[in-house]
Structure formats: structure tokens, C-alpha cells
Symmetry: C2
Subunit: 247 residues, 2 copies
Amino acid sequence: MADSPRRTGRPRSTAADRAILDATRSALVELGWGGLTMGDVALRAGVAKTTLYRRWSNKNELVVDAVAVLFDELELPDRGSLRADVEGVVLSFAELLERPETKTSLMAVVAEATRDEALRARIRTAIVERQKHLVVEGRRRAQIRGELPPDPPGPRGAAQAARAVDLIFDVIAGAVVHRCLVSAERVTPVWARTLAALLLSGLTAGAPGPAPASPAAAPSPPPHGTAEETGEAGSDGRGDQKPAGSV
Amino acid sequence: MADSPRRTGRPRSTAADRAILDATRSALVELGWGGLTMGDVALRAGVAKTTLYRRWSNKNELVVDAVAVLFDELELPDRGSLRADVEGVVLSFAELLERPETKTSLMAVVAEATRDEALRARIRTAIVERQKHLVVEGRRRAQIRGELPPDPPGPRGAAQAARAVDLIFDVIAGAVVHRCLVSAERVTPVWARTLAALLLSGLTAGAPGPAPASPAAAPSPPPHGTAEETGEAGSDGRGDQKPAGSV
DNA sequence: GTCTTTCGATACGGGTCGTAGCGTAACTCA
DNA sequence: TGAGTTACGCTACGACCCGTATCGAAAGAC
């Protein structure tokens, strides 16, 4: 995007680039999207307002670029088990989201994107796809540990795996975002643990055994559920001392 | 809020109320949060701008009220099984969220709320708590069917149940919102089915049996997971022909 | 009919957006 | 070293919106 380094004339100041992005983030924290003004950002960055418009055509573009890098600090150290990895990334993400600059920026950009296809695409590539490697990595490790079965071979298997990654990403990131920003409640270690337990074992797990399924069966449920999609399975891998936080 | 019907003087026009809220929603669709102007809303509603400010102190308040009712159309008809209920509500919610007025409004309000505690509280009560009855109802039905165990008695059990409801709400709503608005991809019936399967059975389910847990155990995983929290369990209830879309 | 409150219309000060014009600074290339 | 090219800071500008104030008229309550 900011390529094509003109080989002649005065070069763009990379210091100004950084100053502007930093100023944007800090202004966003203090003033929010609505309160953020280009003039103020320029002032904070020690730069003329015209310099902003030479690099970004409007507020949206500027803020997306300022926001995207915030998520790069997310990492997925090997915590030894799939369960621990999930808990860890949930807590890390929540911690990131609780910083005012992050949450304000993310939501502001997403809100604008609801009516701007170009912005949506930019978010998808600059944030979503960019962070999906976390799920890919977590799955890979779990497969090596034997907690999850390997992906089926062939293009069909790869597509299945990709869909699984997409789903898991939306579920984990969505749950954290929703709790932090919509429900407006804190993500505690206990909550993270319970979420991880739900993801690993599902609602129907944690039971002492297959419940004595009551005869109250479904009247006429549509025959959906043809074992399609994103398949993978396996046991937990490390003998947890208990169902560990059933939901 | 709009109570205390003054018993004297010219009464407020309820027609104007409706016209303003409708105009707000339609303006939001076409112009988005940033493009929405009070003057334009007044024009669309056939009302003077001053009339808006007599009822709502600013744009935020107006938009929240205009948005909240959009979610009231969500329902949870008994689809015969927990799995079907989950799938159904996921699809309904996604359908609702795909309408431009809904998604733009919701995200705009949430974005503003990141720096406005009062607005957060208003969202929590007017939208989140107001819709949580869907999860409560779904759980209750599943418990009656025997798909989930009854809540433990006493205040401890009630607290557990409340936490379970909160978690499930955040996971389902979060996943749908994240997929629709952040990942910017469509919620298809297949996706809903896979999400339901994940919720019911977890990542580690759908396997032909307990995998031959590889010896690659965790080096030193913290001893978390003390069977705390929100417990419930049970079998699926209806004999699915297969693991039905394992993840 | 009087009183009270709402309504529509208009005007205003304060602020932001995004652009334009200008002289200057910085760097490249001959 | 000097010409050419581009980025920069500064200032000013028109267009727009916000939220408020003011005023006469309208609509009910008593």
C-alpha cells in the first residue's frame, strides 16, 4: 500500500508516520471515535494537518492502520495442552481488549465498516486473517499432542480444516468481544476456564456419564446434521483431574 | 424514562415519537452513524429539530432507543431439541443482524459505549438482559427434555445457572456477531449446524472413541480446573444419526 | 376562555471536515 | 554544485453539523 518509494524528491518522513499513528491511538483513547479530530491528531503528532491527508484519504483509513498493529502482540506460547492454550489466548485477548485504545478503536472501525465494503475487506485482511494463525497453531499443536485427530488428507480435508479454524476463531474471539464490549462484563480467569471447558467438551459434557436420556424426544426435527464440515476429534490428551469446569 | 405524563398543557405527539424513531433507523441505514445528522432525522420525520432535542438529549440516546426494539423480534419456538433450538436461534439472530439497520445501529451504539459508562449500562439493560430470556428458556426446555441436568438447588446453584446463561449468551451471540460483522462472512445453515455441534459436544467430541492419547504430555500445566462453575450435563436427547457435524 | 405545554421555524456561535495555495525543506541526479 | 522533484508547515477557506435560544402559534386541560 505505502510502497513505490519515489526515487526522487524529498522522501516521506517515517518518523511522521509513526508519530501520526501513535497520536491517533492516544487521541482515540482520550476522545473516542467521535471526539477524534484530524486537527487534534496533527497537533499531537507535531505535524501539519495536510500531512495527514497526504497519507490517508480520511479518518477511517487512518484509524484502521492505527488499530491493526495493536493485535499483533497476541501470541500463543505452548502451555502444554489444548485447554491451557485456549484459556491463555482468551485471557490475553481480553487483556488486550480491556485497554481503552483497543476496544474503542476496534469497535469504531467495525461500526464504520458496516456500511463500507472496502473497510470490511481491510479489516478482514489486516486483523482477522492476520490473527487466525493463532488458531491454526493451536490446532496443529493439539494434533501433535494427540488431543485432536489430524486433518483429513486431500483438498476436501484442507477445506474442512479451514472451516474449523474459521469457526473456532469466531467463537473464541466473538465470545470475548461480546462479553467485554456488549455485555460489558469482565473476563476473569474463572470465565476463561469455563469457556475453555465448554469449547472442549460442549454443553452436554461434564456429566457423570451418558444421562438417562428422557423419552421426551423431538416431535419432528428436520433430518439435518449429515456429519459434514470441519471435522476433527480426539480426547483431551492429559488426564484432567475432573471434567474441569463443566458448563 | 418518558413517563410522568403531564396532566396539563399540550400533550406530546406519540406520532412524532414513532416518526422520529423510524426516521432514525432509516437514516442510520443509509448514512451510518457518522452520516446521521439530527437535522436530517428531523426532516425525514417531518418534525422540527428542536422537537428531537426535547425528547433526547443527544444522538447517542436517540439511537439506543431506536435500536433496542429491533431485537425484540427474536423468539425461540420449541424446535424439539436443544440442538435444533440452538441452530434456530443462531439463524434467526444472523438474519436479524444482516439487515443493515440492525448491524449498523448495534455496532454504532456499542462503539460509542466503549467510552460512555451510562450508555454501556443502557445497552446492558435494554438489549443484553432483555434478550437473555432466550437462553434461559432454551435451557429450561432442554432440562425438561432431559438433555441437560436440572440446576443445583440453593443460591449457589442459582448463581451457577446464571453464570451458565451469561456464558452461553456471550458465546452464541458473540460468535454470530463476530462472524457477521468482524469476519464479514455469511452465517449459513451449515455454519449454524456446525456451531451447534461444537456447543453441544465440544472440540474433542465426534471422535470414534477416546483417542489413543499421545504420551506428549504437558510439561508443567498449572493445576487449574477445579470442577467449579455453572455445571450442567446430559445427553443429546434425540439419537442423532451421527455425531452430526463435528468440529 | 384561560393556562400550560408542545410544536415549527429561524437564527446563531462554535466546531470539524477536507481542500487549496504558498513558500520552504530535503533529497536525487546530472 | 545546481536543477529538478517531492514532502512539509502554515494559513485560509467553504461547507457542514451540533446543540441552543427565541418566538409566535397550536393543542389540549381545567
